[in-house]
């Protein structure tokens, strides 16, 4: 009894202490990588290779004035940055880092992960509502519409995993990949791409960062935030990004596989690679336009996610190469069909000056 209590407290403290440190070094990594992409050096003054930069940033944020605009809902303004971090911390309690290294081994782990992962948007809305700022509310409304649109393909394509493994437990899902990663199956490859794309939208990363969009709505929901409260929004974003990468490596990239320290390092390497890809995407791709964003989710990703479910069913019911080839063909057909249908150039609106010339 005492033993389990101690181990439970130890796990909780470990996660709560390590997650912020991990987030700090993710900001360092992102700044370094983005700098290299943009032909700069990045932080290199504080400590060797700028490794102490996150600490300096923390101290700076702590000593910055916290401005709250007049007429704002002060309680809401304080509550939002707290509530945005909590769900992303819970995600780490759900993720397994080894066969036995998991703080909360739920039988419904995957479903619970998805449920907790989408709570953050409520906090973003609270932030915008509490600020009583027009740009903030625009950003929050966009973020809500975006989450609503991308939640659907994410959940649909995640449902393909329990169809094959017969379990929602994340440890069981890793065990089911003993004979090969799900990434190498047709439905797994499509599911990985879908979850990665929808996940980027869920954590508000480029090219789906319309909720912040500093060039159009000046930072969106965090327009009125400064100092430590502002830092909390960044913490939530980076933590969710890390959690998403870990989830993707567990679901599709085989997780730790052999267990032990080697397995943990393998899992970390896979997650790190995915984080790097996300930063790379941020460094190279421009932002979506809002109508493109909504159209992409509803017209391309949702049909593809439904096709992915059918492909997983085919793969399970027809073992051997036949099922693989058929499901791959189905996915390719739906992908080409949807993208070619949607990308077909259609003059949607005649611009008003063209109208006048006629």
């Amino acid at each position: 009894m005492i033993d389990t209590l101690v181990s439970i407290i130890l796990r909780a403290v470990l996660i709560l202490a390590l997650a912020p440190v991990g987030m700090m070094y993710l900001t360092w990594l992102e700044r370094k990588v983005i700098a290299r992409i943009q032909d700069r050096i990045g932080p290199n003054r504080v400590g060797p290779y700028g490794l102490l930069q996150p600490l300096a940033d923390g101290i700076k944020m702590l000593t910055k004035e916290d401005t709250i605009p007049d007429g704002a809902d002060r309680f809401c303004h304080f509550l939002a940055p707290v509530l945005v971090v909590v769900p992303s911390l819970i995600l780490f309690a759900l993720l397994p880092f080894g066969p036995r290294w998991v703080a909360a081994p739920l039988t419904t782990g995957l479903l619970f992960f998805v449920a907790v992962g989408s709570v953050g948007t409520l906090a973003l809305f609270a932030a915008a509502w509490g600020s009583r700022n027009k740009f903030a509310l625009l950003g929050a409304a966009r973020s809500a519409a975006q989450l609503i649109a991308y939640e659907v393909p994410m959940v649909l394509s995640l449902a393909a995993v329990p169809m094959v493994t017969g379990s929602l437990n994340l440890v069981q899902i890793v065990r089911a990949q003993g004979n090969g990663w799900f990434l190498w199956t047709p439905w797994g490859a499509a599911g990985f791409m879908l979850v990665m794309t929808a996940g980027l939208a869920e954590v508000n990363r480029t090219p789906f960062d319309l909720a912040e969009a500093e060039s159009e709505i000046i930072g969106g929901f965090h327009t009125e935030y400064s100092g430590m409260k502002f830092a909390m929004f960044y913490m939530a974003e980076f933590l969710s990004m890390l959690a998403l990468s870990l989830l993707l490596s567990i679901l599709f990239l085989g997780g730790w596989q052999n267990g032990g320290m080697v397995g943990l390092i393998a899992l970390a390497a896979k997650a790190f690679l995915l984080v790097f890809v996300m930063i790379w995407i941020r460094g190279t791709w421009p932002r979506f336009r809002i109508d493109q964003l909504m159209g992409f989710a509803w017209k391309v990703l949702i049909p593809l996610a439904l096709a992915d479910l059918a492909a997983a069913a085919l793969w399970v019911l027809m073992p051997g190469w036949k099922g693989s080839v058929l499901s791959a063909l189905l996915l390719a057909a739906v992908f080409l069909g949807m993208t070619q249908l949607w990308l077909r150039p259609v003059p949607r609106l005649t611009t008003h000056w063209l109208e006048e010339e006629r």
């Binding site: 007429g71 479903l111 430590m228 964003l293 059918a310």
Partner: protein, 120 residues
Amino acid sequence: MSDRLTYLFLGCFTLAAVAVPAMPIILARFVAPKKPGPIKNQVYECGMETEGDAWIQFRIQYYVFAILFVVFDVEALFLFPWAVVFRSLGLAGLAAMGLFLLVLLVGLIYAWQEGMLEWE
């Protein structure tokens, strides 16, 4: 650990997790300078004087998408338990869920045809 104990742990963990963001914010309240002013405390609007209130009504389009979302989210609720027992259900289970998904797909196509998916 049984599932019930795990949920208890998650509840306690959530309470403990509140301290992680709340502590630095409260600490900053003692450390950070405080110099509010009538102009500084105005709602930010690109340096112009603030015009009107931000707490206004939203565009109807957001609600249209929200309704579509509810349909698909409820579907996901049915999908997950089905997916777990998919292998033992066999072809009958596949046919039942296929029919269910087909109805939803028809709904999506209808919404698409009606132009509900166009953002203007």
